[in-house]
């Protein structure tokens, strides 16, 4: 068999959540895995918080890579392939990080873009499926990482569409689900965000089969085995099983999840976010089940190396541009949107800012702290700043409609806030003014306060009528022109 003649090679993937190594005997279309380990370092955590890889994360990564280098040396003396994805792409100090890794371990890390990442993931996640006699013609592959997710569609092994979306399990956790356990409200906001985001994500077709890979998908499979009695050999998760796992996770804190289901604590923290994403995507793709694969980008890199040799990365980049040897250029489409492109960032910012504004609604309705109105108004202003920035990228008619709506929200909040500021300023004056001025100040405070109370009634009626879903969908609809290639 060809496999026995294949060379042994190791590939490492430095992701937002994990650093993962695979050592395998490699052939162009098959792998025999010899070692497979991962460490949850969560580099993406510090990048999301500060924009940089912290010294602690850098040292943790170097320690893990040093161990992996030793592990690989037990099997092969060929150079390691090390690739890095979203967190390193985003980090301001990624070049310093690469230099430190080179200095301490001698390893060269290749930062790959979202398209190459999507292709390598596809190669890695599907090679086992394509060994099956009746593999489905149309297949989707989801690589759910910490900082981003890659989605690939392929027909008869030919990639027909792929995209990189800057939403990952670590990212969702850090943005929406930080309390432990997360609150019902936070979960609802995260669900609404995902639902809106995925609804607005254009898909050329719905694949009947989806292979999910990445740490969160695999941890969810393990959870299903341990918590709801899924067979140890089973690699499929039904929609109902995903929903049951999500429900189990939603009420538990990370430590309990970790202890009860034997998950590393860091993974346990972000697993509820991963379950929410998988659930939302299954709804979007109308899937009754998903397959989970332990393979992904690392295996894809090994297969690409076995196929193309030392120039594997250039060849994969070329394939990502639509010239895949397995897929004639005219049948292959490049990604709908470039990872990190202005159009894609704008879409994400609009949804994020909309949710951030709406998050304050309940506090405003409680009418206990004037800061809530202030925060919601500032959030509305920031949302308008994003809208102003993206006006040229949006459909003009839709834009005017959405902009008017956001302005209405800002105006009614503005009336409340302006009055609050006046009352607050006058109250401070009242305490320090001379006696003669006090009656006048008190009179004005009373009049303004009475007006403010009357306005609160109007404000509450307005906010109760404000439909989150509709507003979020209107934001999503702005994407129409944003999808187009070319100048805005």
């Amino acid at each position: 068999m060809q496999m026995q003649d294949g060379s042994v090679r190791a590939a490492i993937d430095v992701g937002s959540n994990t650093i993962h190594i695979v050592v395998a005997r490699c052939a162009p279309a098959d792998l025999a895995i010899l070692a497979d380990e991962q460490e949850l370092v969560r580099i993406g955590e510090s990048v999301t918080a500060t924009g940089e890889i912290s010294a602690q994360k850098r040292d943790d990564a170097i320690a893990t890579l040093t161990n992996y280098k030793e592990l690989a040396a037990c099997y092969t003396n060929t150079p390691l392939i090390v690739v890095a994805t979203e967190a390193i792409r985003r980090a301001r100090n990624s070049q310093q990080f690469l230099a430190a890794v080179k200095r301490e371990t001698g390893l060269d890390i290749l930062i790959i873009d979202g398209e190459v990442e999507a292709l390598l993931t596809f190669y890695g996640a599907t090679y086992e499926l394509y060994r099956e006699p009746h593999a489905p013609a149309l297949v989707g592959v989801l690589d759910l990482g910490g900082g981003s997710m890659e989605l690939v569609l392929a027909n008869r092994k030919r990639i027909t569409w792929h995209t990189s979306v800057p939403v990952g399990s670590g990212w969702l956790h850090d943005r929406y689900l930080q309390s432990d356990p997360s609150t019902q409200e936070d979960q609802e906001v995260a669900r609404t965000f995902l639902s809106t985001y995925f609804t607005g994500m254009p898909l050329p077709e719905l694949p009947p089969a989806l292979i999910a890979t990445g740490g969160s998908a695999n941890s969810l499979l393990l959870l299903a085995r341990r918590a709801i009695g899924l067979d140890e050999q089973e690699t499929r998760l039904t929609y109902e099983q995903v929903v049951r796992c999500e429900a189990l996770l939603s009420d538990l804190d990370a430590e309990t999840i970790s202890e009860r289901y034997d998950q590393p604590l860091k993974r346990a923290r972000i697993l509820p976010a991963g379950a929410l994403i998988i659930h939302a995507l299954m709804l979007r793709l109308q899937l009754g089940e998903i397959r989970v694969s332990t393979h992904g980008i690392r295996e894809g890199a090994l297969l690409a190396y076995a196929r193309y040799g030392d120039r594997w990365l250039q060849r994969v980049k070329k394939n990502a541009g639509g010239a895949d040897d397995d897929a004639p250029a005219e049948e292959s489409q490049v990604s709908e949107e470039q990872d990190g492109s202005f159009a894609q960032t704008g879409y994400r910012l609009l949804l994020e800012r909309t949710h951030k504004m709406l998050e304050w609604r309940e506090e405003v309705l409680k009418h206990e702290d004037i800061e809530a109105v202030h925060k919601m108004r500032v959030a509305s202003r920031r949302l308008r700043a994003v809208l102003d920035a993206y006006e040229a990228a949006c459909d003009a008619k839709q834009f005017r409609r959405v902009y008017r709506r956001v302005k209405e929200i800002a105006d009614i909040l503005g009336e409340a806030r302006d009055t609050d500021v006046m009352v607050e300023g006058l109250q401070q004056r009242l305490e320090r003014e001379e006696e003669k001025a006090r009656p006048g100040i008190q009179w004005l405070i009373d009049r303004l306060s009475a007006y403010r109370e009357a306005h609160q009634v109007k404000l509450e009626a307005f906010l109760r009528k404000l439909d989150d879903e509709t507003l979020a969908q209107q934001m999503a609809s702005l994407r129409a022109k944003g999808n187009a290639h070319g100048k805005g």
Binding site: A389, G440, G488
Partner: protein
């Protein structure tokens, strides 16, 4: 009060990096801010100074929203923009209360030119160009709740005090603006925006 509409940014490339586009947007917002500069030396261009404040706010939010995509050298300059926005914000807050007090005291004098506002305040469109919201004016100036003599005396004292305070707020803003001009802040920010992109 009506706000000047944000300028539409031209030349954006949807498929280019966010960083490249963010620089263009920030440059447009910076131009917008400096478009109001000619009014800085006149403390009573209330409407224009208010629009300048809004322009500063738009620039600030742009720099904040795209912070991760803009060169690192932009971040320290953001503080100056924030300060300008806050200084103009305090000035505007004073202007609103001063205008309201003038209406209160003028209205109590009777026949002092405020009748129209008083008579029509409830019917005036919200978006009309008033420094103080007409609905609030109508509510505060309800004749049934007119201030007593003592209260009017207090309001007069408050108005005088606010005028003084407004003067020092304006002086502080203008001094700050002149300091920024001396160091050529506009060019400094343009240079920072043209700096190397974050990796």
């Amino acid at each position: 009060m009506l706000m000047a509409k944000a300028r539409t940014v031209t030349g954006l490339d949807l498929q280019a990096s966010t960083g490249e586009n963010a620089r263009l947007i920030a440059q447009t917002r910076l131009d917008e801010l400096y478009g109001w500069e000619r009014y800085v030396d006149n403390p009573y261009h209330i409407r224009e100074l208010h629009n300048m404040r809004i322009a500063a706010k738009r620039l600030r939010y742009t720099l904040e929203i795209f912070a991760e995509e803009l060169p690192e050298s932009v971040a320290p300059l953001l503080k100056e923009v924030e300060q300008i926005q806050e200084e103009l914000g305090s000035l505007h807050d004073s202007d609103v209360v001063i205008a309201l007090l003038r209406l209160c005291l003028g209205a109590q004098d009777g026949g002092s030119g405020y009748e129209y506002v008083l008579a029509h305040a409830r019917q005036l469109k919200k978006k009309a160009d008033f420094l103080v919201n007409p609905a609030l004016i109508a509510y505060v100036l309800d004749p049934a709740a007119a201030p007593s003599a003592d209260e009017r005396h207090g309001l007069e004292a408050l108005l005088q005090d606010l005028h003084k305070r407004r003067g020092s707020q304006y002086t502080a803003f203008r001094k700050h603006w002149n300091r920024l001009n001396k160091r050529n802040f506009r060019q400094e920010l343009l240079d920072a925006l043209a700096g190397p992109a974050q990796q």
